[in-house]
Subunit: 465 residues, 2 copies
Amino acid sequence: MTTLHYLTIAEAGDLLRSHQISPVELTRGFLDRIEQADHQLHAYITVTGDMALKEARTHEAEMLRGEYRGPLHGVPVALKDLYATQGILTTAHSRLLAEWIPDEDATAVARLREAGTVLLGKLSMWEFAGGLDLQGPFPVARNPWNPDYAPGGSSSGSGVAVAAGLCMGSLGSDTGGSIRGPASLCGIVGLKPTYGRVSRFGVIPLSWSLDHCGPMTWTVEDAALMLQAIAGYDPKDPTSSKAPVPNYSQALKEDIRGLVVGIPRHYFFRADGVDGETLEAVETAIKVLEERGAKTKVVEIPSIEQAATVRQIIWASEVYSYHEANNEARRQDYGPRFRDRMTMGAFYTAADYIQALRWREILRREFQQVLEGVDVLATPTSAQPAGLLEQPPFTEDTVSGRRPTFTGPFNTTGLPAISVCCGFTSRELPIGLQIVGRPFDEPTILRVAHSYEKATPWREKRPSI
Amino acid sequence: MTTLHYLTIAEAGDLLRSHQISPVELTRGFLDRIEQADHQLHAYITVTGDMALKEARTHEAEMLRGEYRGPLHGVPVALKDLYATQGILTTAHSRLLAEWIPDEDATAVARLREAGTVLLGKLSMWEFAGGLDLQGPFPVARNPWNPDYAPGGSSSGSGVAVAAGLCMGSLGSDTGGSIRGPASLCGIVGLKPTYGRVSRFGVIPLSWSLDHCGPMTWTVEDAALMLQAIAGYDPKDPTSSKAPVPNYSQALKEDIRGLVVGIPRHYFFRADGVDGETLEAVETAIKVLEERGAKTKVVEIPSIEQAATVRQIIWASEVYSYHEANNEARRQDYGPRFRDRMTMGAFYTAADYIQALRWREILRREFQQVLEGVDVLATPTSAQPAGLLEQPPFTEDTVSGRRPTFTGPFNTTGLPAISVCCGFTSRELPIGLQIVGRPFDEPTILRVAHSYEKATPWREKRPSI
């Protein structure tokens, strides 16, 4: 048996169901692991400790009584610290919320609880999911593959905790790549579902039309299990969709023979600033998909060069609109990076925003058209692997449009996208492959990512921390 | 038989189908009527003349061959001059488009042609549907009940032409009340369908998220016939809905026993500036509905006082965004009222617009909640009857939020609404009753309006011009 804290959710689920391991034993194992490793990594803002053990005991009793809730029953998870948790500090890594204790769980949190998970704690992130604050109210999370390096953001703690075995799975949020970026830089799986697939009720907003909630896990199989628990309509979230929720684990059982993978070579592979080792790893990954029976086809999205500007205007306008009042009342309580980026939104006019919405519609239609001819798209997730923590992290540059972003277009268009590890650089830093699908076709992107994962050795490797 | 030009579409349809009247005879009759009366009313910018007669001859031949297209076959209609018509001048009553000849029909126009209508011409309107220009490039339409009075706007010519028997039915467009306002002031029926119900492809936009296309007719029965022809999904309009299109004429056959009519007394009946005779007529109309078997219930929309501001910000921002380039290049070619109102949009920030969208969502939900407890709402259509043409028309004041508007909230929320004549003032000017329904429930508002219309004498009265 592998080290307890490096079990996958699926593996632990089997052991839990067959009573070979107990929720309390597993939870205690993770609390010990956090105690041992997190002082170097700072993935957690809040560790629930005794509260987690109490939950674990309740679930243990249930399971002993034969009341089995499903594959997440007894599984210890953690949450990016912008998911509201009843009675537990929820900070968004901000001075403004440094003492906020919500009255109610976010819907995704309530659904995870319903599924029987144990909550280990709340995870570090960029301030309000929008700007890394090195001098913020809580420490900054570090990359477990090399703590001198950044883990990406904004769901930094969620990426670190999963990669370093500080929880079995986590929830992140993704407005321009905040799930997929840290997943790629930490070598884990990050899934940004279709816009509307997962309720955002109780999740502190960044940019309401771009924000997405989703799981971060070690394997694709685990991502499918977590998505299953949180997906589906929520009357409390007016943007949530009534589209039926399929069986995601079932989808992994099919192979990918005959699927057509679109390769948008022109921007996602050729933009200035794309790392050579990343490209090489992604090209090799595409060959693996071909060996597994997929066909590939070069595709083009004519207006992709506009995507960064479109997203920047929508992003900054919506962020500013949310923070406008606090920006006047408590401007000094924001960190400098988030404040600067948010304040850009004050300078866009309504006409700018409307023009951006118009361009967004054009992009949406161009991707729709491309996805009529292919089943999924494959691209690098991040243009660069992790950079040194002391330098402004690369992923933050991409969010502000100063460097190419391969994740952002799928926030603008709302399409589902998953990042899966596809190798390591010569410095032993992970590289991510992104698979993008049609609206609500999470089953296909999960299937492709799973097929790739099974055929490659990357899941065997763990950070040595 | 009544005067030819005062036949309803349904009456004419029967005569056409049974070959008691021919499309050519009918078209010629309307062209004569336009010739005789329109120099006093200025409903038309363009009269198609020989082109209409040629169409009528084609339809006549078809009908003689037994090729019957349905209840609009051979019916002469006219269009607000912002519907693109292939090969026919389309001006939006503006100097900027005073010579524009489109290559393609708007979808609604193509559908009316497909249904066999004959196009008599293009109708006067406020400049770009947004501001009356007394010194504009074309004359200003006058109210047929009294040519010193305004017909309302912006679909002024559409209201006048139907009321004065210058066409059998027309299409208008409605961004804040531009179908229902002139319908009420001209004593006809005006239907603003649900947002997405009728394609807007080929219709010059004013404010894309508030614009609606719909029919203006003498009777509710006729409105149902015209809506049937133009409703339904259009791949050329990304905002058009795939909701199935029911049989609207069928809906008129049911009575209204047991239907619950919500009366939002607090704003729609008590706002400052509501005319006393209007209120009296609407109260009497509600009693008629009760006599016909409907129940009534007082309802309240808590945030209705915000509606005018919300709509003003959305309206001006979207109008400015559309006209921004022309405003710089050809500002002198806009009339002063439209220019002033459009320019207000330059001063709203993206955050203002986003806040307005947020309030819009609140309003939408409040109306939704109210409409869970009642089948329709009944209100006055316009707070005031027609004013003198030389004074700034009252309806223009309402659009800019300076006076209460009872039509605007249903552009903001996208709900379907119909105006039907419910009496006359002591000056012999018409008064309108507005019936509002649930999304895509045009059948019920048509049914209620039709039931009211059948029980009252107003359809017998015609302008004496």
